[in-house]
Symmetry: D2
Subunit: 397 residues, 4 copies
């Protein structure tokens, strides 16, 4: 790859200049009041991005995986039952993490390309009359398949079943790029990281706990220290941190949330939708299909594109980087070799997206696929030329 070209992996994203500069700080004494002046606006900014009035936000040096561990280890105890659906690599990994922590995971097997089946969640929760299930896991945006699921529907399913379990949501590749309504959707824990919608380098696990989730913390007996939100909360209350914080990244988070809120969250989401829609039109112009089972599942942060039979998607990704210096995402797990992914999250522009689409066309042609050069570009251009005021609203499927 070339640092001259944009990256099209679904995170870490291309980083805006000002965020790189915010992260690249000289050493600041994290026990001085200057630190609190970075930390608290960053936490407040995340809360606003989550559209929550009541959540408590915690930020750890870590990644989204650490965020998953934070979510379960602070609220659950060994042997607790949790309910989760598997519809791709990242939902799979969270399930795996739960199992390795001694939880009893009831797994709904959804297809890799399917959304989270709210009806199945409801059925199982309704049947759990003893409320053995303590937490429901939901992956808002399955990064491996480019599928966004309806979290509000999961909440409705839980409510319909009258089930008191906590709702834990992986929003790693959605938060900050697609609409996420922590309070409205009754999300109890939201998990994300620094390197997706917040456009920063990897290195922060970001989690938000609802008041109900906070209540569950004291009773939870899974072992935790590094990811213990109680130490974090005590530290924050004193303007500090339980260990050495990643000050530069927190400073970046303060600025990143400020940028998103200044632009207006709805504008940010509309922008992502616009860019994504252009990519999708290119895909369809090529005669290819998205991995997502139906248009209502199309993610605005990442598109997973199925390769035709006989074409190895891994070769696509390898050729793109070697020949044109451009990084796309590979297929993961069940989809390895079958899809390649175009990440279109963060502060991407139409113009950057077009360069990725144009590159993909050259790669496909090089691999012998029957692709008209310029065809996907033209379809995307036609979309990007439209008045942003009209194209940034989510179309009916």
């Amino acid at each position: 790859m070339s640092f001259q070209n944009p990256v099209f992996i679904p995170g870490p994203t291309n980083m805006p200049e000002e965020l790189r500069k915010a992260v690249d700080m000289p050493t600041l004494d994290h026990r001085s009041p200057l630190f609190a002046a970075i930390l608290h606006p960053a936490l407040d900014g995340v809360k606003a991005v989550l559209k929550s009035q009541t959540a408590e936000v915690f930020v750890f040096p870590g990644t989204g995986t650490g965020g998953w561990e934070t979510a379960i280890s602070n609220t659950l105890s060994a042997g607790d039952a949790v309910l989760a659906a598997r519809n791709g690599m990242f939902s799979h990994r969270w399930i795996d993490l739960c199992q390795r922590h001694g939880l009893d995971v009831q797994v709904i097997e959804a297809g890799w390309g399917a959304g989270l089946p709210a009806d199945r969640y409801e059925e199982i929760l309704a049947a759990d009359t003893g409320h053995r299930i303590k937490a429901v896991l939901a992956t808002h945006n399955e990064t491996a398949t480019g599928v966004v699921s309806d979290i509000a529907a999961i909440r409705r399913a839980m409510d319909a079943a009258g089930h008191p379990a906590l709702l834990l949501v992986d929003g790693v590749s959605s938060i900050g790029s697609m609409d996420f309504r922590m309070d409205d959707w009754g999300v109890d824990i939201a998990v994300t990281g620094s390197q997706k919608g917040f456009m920063l380098p990897a290195g922060l696990a970001i989690v938000a706990f609802s008041p109900r989730a906070m209540q569950a913390v004291e009773g939870a007996t899974l072992h935790r220290t590094y990811f213990d939100i109680r130490d974090m909360a005590r530290g924050y209350a004193a303007g500090g941190y339980p260990y050495t914080p990643a000050v530069g990244l927190l400073n970046g988070l303060k600025m990143a949330t400020g940028m998103l809120l200044d632009e207006g969250l709805d504008n940010v989401f509309a922008r992502h939708h616009r860019i994504a829609e252009g990519v999708r039109r290119a895909v369809h112009a090529w005669g290819l299909e998205l991995c997502a089972d139906s248009p209502d599942l199309w993610s605005d942060t990442v598109s997973a594109i199925r390769m035709p039979e006989g074409v190895d998607a891994n070769r696509f990704v390898a050729h793109a980087v070697e020949r044109y210096g451009v990084a796309f995402g590979t297929g993961l797990g069940e989809l390895a070799g079958k899809v390649f992914r175009i990440g279109h999250l963060g502060r991407m522009t139409d113009v950057m997206a077009l360069s990725g689409i144009a590159t993909a066309e050259m790669v496909m042609a090089d691999l012998g696929m029957d692709i008209a050069l310029g065809s996907g570009v033209a379809a995307a251009q036609a979309h990007y030329r439209l008045d942003p005021a009209t194209t940034t609203r989510k179309e009916a499927a």
Copy 2:
């Protein structure tokens, strides 16, 4: 414009990450030996890029305009005659500068789109039997028109006329990007800047003097102090500078010349030709014409593209920046409103070039031009897909 997108102005160019970091230095004592360890490799690097064994290189805090002034004020005296051709805005400005310094400029009016007419140079020089003409000015690459001229032909013209004038060449937008042979072509003074082929911020005037030019310095009576190469030469000999140097830019120049020489100058030139050729194929696919009168004049660093009658090129440039955040070059002087320019110099990639071409298509469509979206992109893609080993050689015109 958006800092997320590449720029397509014909300099300053997009800057490679490592050069930005080389320029962004902490304060270094320019009277310490550390400075000489930056200065001398930078000077040697420039000399190698110029393919000269004998030139003395001088670098001033300034720009190419300062380089022009350095060239004339160090070698000429008030009232001296010089010969120059005007074929665009930058050759025009050098002529103007000479006149304002009291020189008697004999101007050959070539068209804006024409190359330098070696035959006319020869005629005039042959007629100047008294050798009143002290210097011949030649603009290697006319940035305003995208025309590269044959400097070797100018030298042959001078030799054919048996004329002893100095040959002063503006290589601002060619040196480091297109072949420049100071010794082979008998160039007496070469002028360039930091912000083109050297991929740095603006701020350095770079000039190289042949031994013959050095001999002319003592007799020259035009006033000069800031741009006096004698002070510079004395400073360099002592590892220093006659005033405060722009240390960071010099450090960048040291690294930039290293990058060019490590890549291999022929590879650098071939890369520029490849990228440029893709742009030109796009232009032709759009049914448009380059400003350059004939293919042998096509510049590999900048393409000036004629707009059809009735379309204002300034609107093109303004719309590109406002609607898509992409900077192209405007037409200058006689060409204002008639051409827009795509700069494709510096470390541009195929992929970046494609994003500029795609943007240009959207802009032209927005302005109501009859352009098939994707058509130029497809033509460029077809070129960029070809084996670099075969496409990087300059085709016969």
Copy 3:
């Protein structure tokens, strides 16, 4: 504090320019081969700094606390006994972490200012004939008290007792700054972070496992996923990572280890000793005492200085930052208000150290202490003026 002044906290350290630039990278695809070209040299570099031929090094997005958790959760099971001594805040916190993970910690209470009592370790281990103790914890350098302990002595104690427990060592504030001999000392797990001897921002937990520690991993049943070295090892073997790595910090680690090894570890350690010795001479010139019980315990990375009765060390630290913009370390835990700390690790110079000493003098005078201005500075200057070739050898205590 002012970013113009050096910091004197015992980590994060002042960062060398080149390391900041190494960390501040554009987005790199961590699934591309470029990542392995960063990761593996970084891991190898750490191994060399640890003076180990056989260790496996793992680097997590995290901090030293995460490193502690990695050490125990990968090798121990709930209910396992571990032996540890408490001689300051950081040894205390590791003990606390073990307890919260369900381990049965046998604590040797050493004074805050004492070294690790090898004789007490030996006694207890010799008495543990049933080998219930699975791990011995040792804090090489207690950052809270400025005490360096003799890890080789702990190993000798274990060997004398014929005890098979693993030796887990916290080298967070020693590794890369003071001699650390993983293989010679029979260390089974070494723990450190990015923000001390490696001079980087906080954000990496760095751990090294001996072959014996690796063998213990499979039998360990403490829950772990984020910090599971098995996933890490599998990732590394494939040139990758089990989740999104902190690429910039890893790139910094690659460069930092290169810098240390290029300078020569013995030179690095001697440099730290020189700087530290100057600070200690200043302390003694002031008539103050170090927290460390005896000279053989003096740390070369941090000095904890006891305030006279009646002077609040917290006021010292607060006044230094408010009035002079300089950050020193506060006393922690039992030492809060009783000591202030001067961190002198990382790439500090004599000159920087002198500015910290001079600041401390002004602060003490401002607080009404009977201090001769310039007295500590003069003592340190006298030391720093000595021939580095003679002063950088560790003096007999």
Copy 4:
């Protein structure tokens, strides 16, 4: 030298982090409206720093020497008489520049250590009843000797003589650090650069023209193009530049002037005075003398310190950089080997100044001088400890 240590050369100064980041910009199209949004606030900021309501400010890619050339070439004609005093290397160089441009310079020889002799100016101007003298040159702060002169007195001398010459002032090492009142003092042209009080890298020549100076421009016949303010003025009026501007430096200038004005100019000057006074107290504690003839001439930006007979000041400077990695200024011209200079301008702190003073003491001791280590430090500490509200007013001499 070491980039870890501050520099103590009298410019370029240590650069504040935020200014380095402001300068290190991605490529911006200097023909787009974004450029005007940088340029005009920068020009306005300079004007405010100069305390002028009426001046026109011009900024060239260049240095202070280019500023001198701008001043004379835009207002004078060959053969014009100018009056100047020589009291150090920089006043000498400006005189030399005038002579090389064909001006008839009447030189008042003041001692190297003296201030500008207003009485001699008055005498000569009064005698010039024919007003042959077109310009009076005055060096506000002679960087070579650490002497600040009274520009208001020069203006009074001109007025007393009823002389209409222009007053051209070199404020390179004063403006932005010491009080400068362009309008009050009737300064016609003020010259400075980016690398002193503006704390930026070298690379900008900054000049301000009074309305009277502007009137002189049209009649001036000295050759100029690069430094012609008429082209500059035309460019500015159109939001542009006559050639490629140094955009990053201009962006830095915008921020630097903002920082100075936000702090309050009087606070900035008081801060420089405080720091300088501490350095001077150290010098006197060492038993050494400043080069300046009397206390009223002491510069708050640079102190030139006379070495005792028999000690080579060049050895001092060389030893400081080689042994301690610290850069001081050498003696220049007549003072070579006789003085060393401590620059204390820009955003230096007490703490940084103390490290320079401490270093100087070690160097002097190393050279065999009879210096009590810590003595100068103690004297400076005593000053820096005083309440800033009382010490920042300029004491009576």
